[in-house]
Amino acid sequence: MYKYDEYDQAMVDARVAEFADQVKRRLAGEMTEDQFKPLRLMNGLYLQLHAYMLRVAIPYGTLNSQQMHKLADIGRKYDRGYGHFTTRQNIQFNWIKLEDAPAILTELSTVEMHAIQTSGNCIRNISSDQFAGAAADELTDPRPWAELLRQWSSFHPEFSYLPRKFKIAVIAAAEDRAAMRLHDIGIQIIERNGVHGAAIYVGGGMGRTPMIAPLIKDFVPLEDLLSYLEACLRVYNRYGRRDNIYKARIKILIHEIGADSYRDQVDAEFVHVKSLGIDPPRAEFDRIAAQFAMPPLDASAPNDVDRSDPDFAVWLDQNVAEHKVPGHAIITISLKPLHGIPGDATSDQIDVMAQLGREYSQDELRVTHAQNIVLPHVRKADLYAIWQRLDEAGLATPNLDLISDIIACPGLDYCSLANARSIPVAQKIAERFSDLERQRDLGELKLKISGCINACGHHHAGHIGILGVDRKGKENYQLSLGGSGAEDVSLATITGPGFDEDGVIDAIERVTDKYLAERTDGERFVDTYRRIGMAPFKEAIYG
């Protein structure tokens, strides 16, 4: 894992001191809320429905056990004993007091964490593949590049006041586990003629105008990557609309001027940027990359796993993936228990996961964009012992990628932007499909719920998506089908008129029944949808 150098630490410490002074001035009445709001947002501090909310950055979703323990401590000491893992691989605390914010940020800085650029019109936390460095199908570990981008984008003076927020994802595997093409910039490390480079996709995103990012450059040599990205951002910063917040994202710019025109302008800008010499020397990249070296795993470790405990065997099949090193595995800990809140974990549970990371996973954990936690480097021989500990802590739900592994935004229960609640809908769906055998029979089915059009719950990318809206003061839910955030990326299509809370649960059951009736061998839900189209599902839903 990356370790801060003196510059990283100095930057974070200086920001904590600066924000502590700003909080003091706000509490003393020397600043109005209008003056203070942009400053607190730059430090991840929102004012939500019930209290201040602090969003803490977890760069590319990677953290160590000490950092994880610190998050548990903060939840216990300054919040109400829990935290909420988000779809940008971050964590949010929902009940923060303004006067405590400087102390929290000070504590975070002691473990090389912060809340910088988790809000505002800047480059947000760089996201990545939660299996990075462990996945059998990856070309290389994408995180050194993500870390380089973190350093490049942190406090970047030119990109601190972009027309709108800006999200970047980096992957290096054929399987897209990071919804890469639904980002403002998606980067896929690829190989051509034995040389690694980057395919650059620009202009994707969800929100009120969902778009899949088009390919802007099929191969950027990695030694040019920062210059090329700088050019991408410069063109956006120059021409992105600042007069209309709904048209300010880069996807709108590219949609309006066309991908070819945007590409031409980036190419022209790149020639200039490249002359500035901003790409780091190879030695600097190597310094970063060395910190992501594969931990010392014993490739001769036993591959066999005793499956005699049936509950363990189910979890093993559902939540454990192959590791690139024989004798090892990748565990995904589901934060979607029955009656739970997607993405929430108590401080005690966070401590358990931290401890397991330290004992069994080379001191590493990951946060996934699907709001789960990964132990990336586990010996197969330890799987049963880990499962027992997870089970004791209520963390062994065997539902990864099943219908109850739901992404849900905080919705109207917490969020000041939301129009409808998301969490109760997720809970009711999980309850309706609580029979695990039924879930497993349905197979991979990614269900995603957003409580407003901003789409933090990724409903556009759901095999089944739900959007909560306000209809004459009442919660109403629009159902959509056929989305995907994976390598087979697609945007979901709305089925028709919306439903009330119970109605949308019934509608989903009619959809899954139709799928079961229509599927052929080996077809996932989304495959069947793509083969037979919307009409049969619409007929099943509305009659």
Partner: protein, 98 residues
């Protein structure tokens, strides 16, 4: 009726204007009539509240009830964590809000 609400500057918690002070409990909120905006200016300047605004509601036998669901959830707390709400021992509180 008109209710004046905002968030406590230090804690961020939802507060309601009682006529003389701020309270966490909507049952104690008063009808501010057409004075809400003026009170908001004074109270915000005194740093006793953050971002106050006026909402519509109705007076019921259980006290003031905001017209919009968002404000009713603000008044209670998250409906999915009644244990963290202002009525932690009332399991039906969430249903009444909706």
């Amino acid at each position: 009726m008109k209710l004046l609400t905002g968030n406590d500057l230090k804690s961020g918690l939802v507060t309601w204007w009682t006529g003389s002070d701020w309270t966490l409990h909507i049952e104690e909120a008063c009808d501010v009539g057409d004075q809400g905006d003026a009170i908001a200016v004074t109270e915000e300047a005194a740093r006793r509240v953050n971002s106050p605004y006026v909402i519509s509601g109705e007076l019921t036998d259980k006290g003031p009830r905001p017209a919009h669901i968002k404000e009713r959830i603000r008044a209670l707390g998250p409906t999915v964590r009644i244990d963290l709400s202002l009525k932690p021992t009332d399991p039906s509180a969430a249903e009444r809000v909706i």
